[in-house]
């Protein structure tokens, strides 16, 4: 073993007695090792003599720093509380809103289209002029007239042509665009459980009549059935769609609900533009017809006018159908009588009931944790900085004051 490398350890007394003896003998016998030994010993003592002995200060501050400061825990609690309140204030409104939206998905579309309802009241009066005749449904009440619902509009539509077109020929395009009204076809299907089906049907008919609508179809399975049912198709003015649905909901317990809003504004506008072009074409043919002298030309022009007229009629029928659908919403209702109370539950059902309740509760707990986890994850940009701030504050509060 190399004694040279152990000289320093020998000086520092870090060797075992045997090894120290070996190194001592080696130093005594080797002048080179002796020189190295002397140097190391001298240098060690020189370093020790040069050593600075700083005057101790700040002991009291260190003592204070290690003492728990008054209010530190209070401050920590306050910060933690503030963070919790902040999290609650942010999480729960979002949570609640999400739940409400989840429940009332259909309501949103109705609100979105209410704008169209108001606008339609103002602008569609003229369009009804030619449509009331087309609505010749046998069930439709004689007094049904969309114009009567919108007197103000009728005045504005007074200057329109005999076909009931909202776009007058030759009007500027910008004006045409402004004249467009949002056309939304509203449909809804609802199933209810009611105490008495016949009463519900009667109430529905009265309600629909009250809204100037009509019952398009009605089929009733009869009171003698074990579980009487009725299926009805109602047509109510679009602006009363929500009110009618609300009244239906008050008749019984809602079992299922499905609503659909179809915006056909673009389709109506397209058809109207086509009609306008065809009418211009028809007018020019008529002008030619007035100046035609030859029989052959007259017949040819009349044939062309006939073709154009057919196209106009076809498009007009489509337009009217769409507008009619938009003006009168369709509600399909199914009423079913509530199940009558039967026998008392069997005595041995308690176990099944308890099991089902427990499973439901477990599902609820699982759902709660999953939702809470999702919210915490999504809202981490909100609570994470607060938590980090609290930790930073705690660290800062614990740090010594210099």
């Amino acid at each position: 073993m190399n004694e040279r490398e152990d000289i320093k350890a020998y000086i520092d007394g870090e060797l075992s007695p045997e090894r120290a003896n070996e190194v001592r003998l080696a130093i005594e016998s080797d002048p080179g090792l002796m020189q190295e030994y002397t140097f190391m010993k001298d240098t060690s003592s020189k370093i020790a003599s040069l050593l600075r002995q700083p005057q101790v200060k700040g002991a009291e501050k260190a003592l204070q720093a290690t003492r728990p400061r008054i209010g530190l825990r209070v401050m920590q609690t306050v910060v933690a509380l503030c963070a919790s309140v902040l999290i609650l204030a942010v999480v729960f409104p979002v949570f609640y809103k999400a739940k409400v939206n989840g429940r009332g998905g259909g309501a949103r579309t109705n609100v979105a289209t209410s704008f169209g309802v108001e606008k339609a009241k103002e602008r569609m009066g003229g369009d009804y002029n030619g449509e009331s005749n087309a609505m010749s449904d046998t069930n439709m009440p004689a007094d049904f007239s969309p114009q009567s619902e919108m007197p103000a509009v009728r005045e504005r539509g007074g200057g329109r042509d005999a076909q009931g077109l909202s776009l007058s020929m030759g009007a500027p395009v910008a004006e045409d665009a402004e004249a467009l009204v949002r056309q939304v076809i509203k449909d809804g299907s609802y199933a209810f459980e009611v105490a008495n089906v016949q009463n519900a049907v009667d109430d529905t008919i009265v309600m629909v009549k009250g809204y100037k609508g009509f019952v398009e179809s009605n089929s009733n399975s009869g009171a003698e059935e074990a579980k009487p049912r009725a299926f009805m198709t109602l047509r109510v003015p679009e602006e009363h769609f929500e009110d009618a649905v609300a009244k239906l909901k008050s008749l019984g317990k809602l079992r299922s609900e499905n609503s659909d809003n179809q915006d056909v504004t673009a389709q109506v506008a397209d058809i109207e533009a086509r009609i306008k072009t065809l009418k211009t074409e028809e007018e020019s043919y008529r002008e030619l017809l007035r100046h035609a002298n030859k029989i052959g030309d007259i017949l040819d022009i009349k044939e062309r006018i006939s073709v154009v007229r057919q196209q106009i009629e076809s498009y007009d029928a489509q337009r009217l159908t769409m507008k009619r659908l938009a003006v009168l919403s369709t509600i399909t209702v199914q009423f079913e009588e509530e199940a009558k109370a039967t026998d008392e539950p069997k005595p041995d059902d308690w176990f099944e009931d308890t099991k089902l309740s427990a499973i439901l509760m477990l599902k609820g707990i699982g759902k709660f944790f999953a939702q809470a986890g999702t919210f915490l994850f999504v809202l981490s940009p909100v609570w994470l900085p607060a938590l980090l701030f609290a930790l930073w504050f705690r660290r800062r509060a614990l740090a010594p004051q210099s």
């Binding site: 320093k8 240098t43 004051q401």
Partner: protein, 176 residues
């Protein structure tokens, strides 16, 4: 009750949250820790480092398992705080400016010797300077230096030997 068992008892009480015992430990070890820090960072920064050391001690004393001397454990904490503080202040954590007495005009040759030695120490590699400081300046044993510096004891021994050999070479190059 001897000094060692008294210390163990104080540590035990401090671990259980006894503020008096904690205060006693601070009072007892502060001078040693302060000098250790002040020699590394100067008086002001050394005071901060010493305070932080005791705050850390208060927080982590429950993790002290008694495998090494309590003071060595504390110096290990202080060593880390000194290094962190020096890094924050863009200082060399092993600077020797505050380790030695300032040279005085009274002792001419001795002063020149001291200055040469200090200059030679500064030329050592950081690893060598670290063990020299911990062993020669702080008076720690090889085992204690090993624990504070986080290296094996054999490495401490080897580094010290080579540090002194390098010192000898550097000083031999200095003209007398």
């Amino acid at each position: 009750m001897d000094e060692r068992s008294g210390m163990e008892e104080r540590i035990h009480r401090a671990k259980r949250g006894d503020r008096t015992a904690l205060g006693e430990l601070v009072s007892e070890h502060y001078p040693r820790v302060y000098r250790f820090c002040a020699r590394r960072l100067g008086d002001d920064l050394g005071q901060d480092a010493a305070q932080e050391t005791f705050v850390t001690m208060q927080r982590t004393i429950s993790r002290y398992e008694g495998r090494s001397c309590f003071e060595t454990w504390l110096l290990g904490v202080a060593h880390n705080h000194c290094r962190n503080l020096a890094r924050k202040r863009m200082r060399d954590p092993l600077a020797l400016d505050d380790s030695f007495e300032a040279p005085s005009a009274d002792h001419g040759a001795q002063c020149a010797d001291g200055e040469a030695l200090r200059s030679a120490l500064e030329k050592l590699s950081p690893e060598h300077r670290e063990v020299v400081l911990l062993h020669e300046v702080e008076g720690l044993s090889y085992a204690e230096v090993a624990e504070v510096a986080g290296v094996p004891e054999g490495t401490v021994k080897s580094r010290l030997y080579h540090a002194f050999r390098n010192l000898r070479e550097i000083l031999s190059e200095v003209p007398a």
